[in-house]
């Protein structure tokens, strides 16, 4: 059970992030979560949106270089130590995290952790085995 994430290449210059946000907004696409990895020259914007296929087609039409990536989303209690518990489980199984980010659900006292693993299948087995709830697109894209 994975979630589609759109990764977009952007140059580190004024207005690029704004342009993507505006294009998505104008198309009525809602951003559920995002993270920006940046270097001095460029950045990689990672987005989870409510209509991934539409967002992908629209951004591509505007000439952006992007890639659809499968990420793993898990739900943890929004309390101190919530993230640490998941990370120590992964570390114990020597599973590497390529990158991750998190967001908080407004309506529940839950937090959502989004992971990119180099071996997603094994990571998901470990998480499931420990009773951690994996979220599908139906769980997080319906806004």
């Amino acid at each position: 059970m994975t979630v589609r994430q759109i990764s977009v290449f952007i140059e580190n210059r004024a207005g690029r992030l704004e342009m993507i946000a505006r294009l998505l907004g104008d198309a009525g696409i809602n951003i559920r979560a995002l993270s920006l990895a940046d270097t001095s020259d460029f950045g990689i914007l990672r987005l989870i949106v409510n209509r991934p296929a539409d967002a992908e087609a629209m951004l591509r039409r505007h000439g952006f270089t992007l890639r659809m990536t499968e990420v793993v989303a898990v739900e943890v209690p929004d309390v101190p130590g919530g993230l640490a518990g998941v990370l120590s489980l992964l570390a114990a199984h020597q599973i590497n995290v390529e990158y991750m980010y998190a967001f908080v659900e407004k309506t529940a006292d839950k937090a959502v952790l989004v992971f990119r693993f180099n071996d997603s299948a094994r990571a998901m087995d470990v998480l499931r085995g420990a009773g951690i709830r994996l979220l599908g697109e139906a769980d997080i894209l319906t806004k």
Binding site: I10, T39, F42, I44, G63, T65
Partner: protein, 435 residues
């Protein structure tokens, strides 16, 4: 004013006498390449020319041209006119793609080269009493070893410094009493900068003249170099395909570069039609090597733009003069003295991306040093959604470019379509250098 000549008789003979000598040499060289270079035999036969058809200089324009592409197709030694057992030296410069342009020399060619480089030094007033610091690179590049042998042939004292290590260059100039400096004009300015930082007043040293070449420069740079280093600057010209440095050189009249035409016969042609142009008109410079043994080229197209001037020179030399090169007919760039073709960079990107690359070459000069930046559009084939993946891509492009050109390039990843496309064909080069 009659300045010093290394080979006075050959440099000051009457034009008629020289034309007869050149005609004899032309006949001999055409016969020789027809006999010994399969490439030229084929080429001449394709044009319906037999060596017996070439009787004097006026027949030269009937001969086909030789180009850099021919070097690539005959790589590495196909244009050589002697067996490898007679080749005592190889040098190489950039080709238009990955493979270099290879040139070879027999023992006699090395001696000829030393003599034309000695003429070059003598043009700048050099003699056996001079101390010559050679700060051109030594190695496959012809600049260093060419001027080195020239200095020795002249009987001067040669300091084989090669490029770089600027503080040490300045220290030895002070301690050894260097009188003649050979380097690229941009390196001359770098020396001036470093000397200022070190608190050394270069004008108080024994430096008397500088022989600068291997890259384009301007009257403004010449003035800055002369003021800051306290020397007289001389423009020198050469290319490895013809021999290296020692093809032509400015004398102290500073009105063009005397071509050592008894060995390297120059023509200026219309680059579009290939037709020879009358003296005084600007066009592409073409050389025929009249006397070289290992690599005697017929009508080699240099892609350099200049014009020829035959009015008598106050220095007494009767050798034709060429104006300082004002540009190129192709897209070759000279960056830190290295010949760079955009096609070389394109082939690196094509290899890595596996598709038609979109890129922009930006050349700038900061603190007298050329800087090369390659902007590469990131397409979906190479896009990684991890920073380290993109950093690895950047590193790979930079290291491939370094291995082909020997130049460090800053590689910048940019968004698709951020590089301007004009009429379907992208503008590939922005040269911001102010010479």
């Amino acid at each position: 004013m009659t300045s010093r000549c290394f080979e006075r008789k050959l440099e000051t003979m009457s034009c008629d006498e020289r034309a007869a000598l050149q005609g004899d040499r032309l006949r001999a060289v055409v016969a020789r390449v027809y006999e010994h270079v399969p490439f030229y035999r084929r080429r001449l036969e394709q044009h319906g020319i037999h060596p017996d058809d070439i009787r004097s200089l006026s027949d030269l324009s009937r001969l086909p041209f030789t180009t850099k592409t021919d070097f690539r197709e005959e790589y590495p030694f196909g244009l050589f006119a002697v067996p490898m057992s007679r080749v005592v030296r190889l040098h190489a410069s950039s080709g238009t793609t990955g493979k270099p342009t290879v040139v070879g020399y027999t023992r006699r060619d090395i001696d000829l080269w030393a003599r034309t480089c000695a003429r070059t030094l003598a043009c700048a007033g050099g003699s056996r009493n001079d101390v010559v610091q050679v700060a051109y690179g030594y190695g496959l590049f012809t600049g260093g070893l060419g001027m080195h042998y020239g200095g020795e042939k002249l009987g001067a004292t040669v300091i084989p410094m090669s490029g770089g290590n600027t503080k040490r260059q300045i220290m030895l100039m002070q301690d050894f009493g260097t009188t003649l400096l050979c380097c690229t004009p941009s390196y001359a300015l770098e020396i001036a900068e470093v000397a200022t930082d070190m608190g050394v007043d270069m004008r108080k040293l024994k430096l008397r003249a500088g022989l600068f070449g291997a890259e384009p420069w301007s009257a403004r740079m010449r003035q800055a170099i002369e003021e800051r280093l306290g020397l007289q600057a001389f423009d020198i010209y050469g290319l490895s395909e013809v021999i290296g440095p020692g093809v032509s050189s400015e004398c102290d009249a500073h009105c063009g570069l005397h071509v050592f035409e008894d060995h390297f016969y120059p023509e200026v042609i219309d680059p579009e039609s290939g037709q020879p142009l009358p003296d005084g008109e600007r066009g592409e410079l073409v050389f025929t090597c009249l006397t070289k043994e290992a690599l005697p080229l017929l009508r080699y197209r240099t892609r350099d733009i200049t014009r020829l001037m035959r009015a008598p020179c106050p220095c007494g030399r009767t050798l034709v003069r060429m104006e300082r090169v004002s540009g190129r007919t192709d897209d070759m760039l000279i960056i830190r003295g290295v010949n760079v073709f955009p096609s070389q960079i394109e082939s690196v990107l094509l290899e890595i991306e596996g598709t038609e690359p979109h890129y922009l070459i930006v050349v700038d000069r900061r603190e007298n040093m050329d800087e090369l930046e390659i902007q590469v559009e990131v397409n979906e084939r190479v896009f990684s959604d991890e920073v380290r993946g993109l950093e690895a891509l950047r590193q790979k492009v930079a290291s491939e470019i370094f291995s082909i050109l020997g130049l460090t390039a800053k590689v910048t990843l940019v968004e698709p379509r951020s590089i301007e496309r004009s009429q379907g064909k992208a503008k590939r080069v922005i040269d911001k250098r102010v010479l």
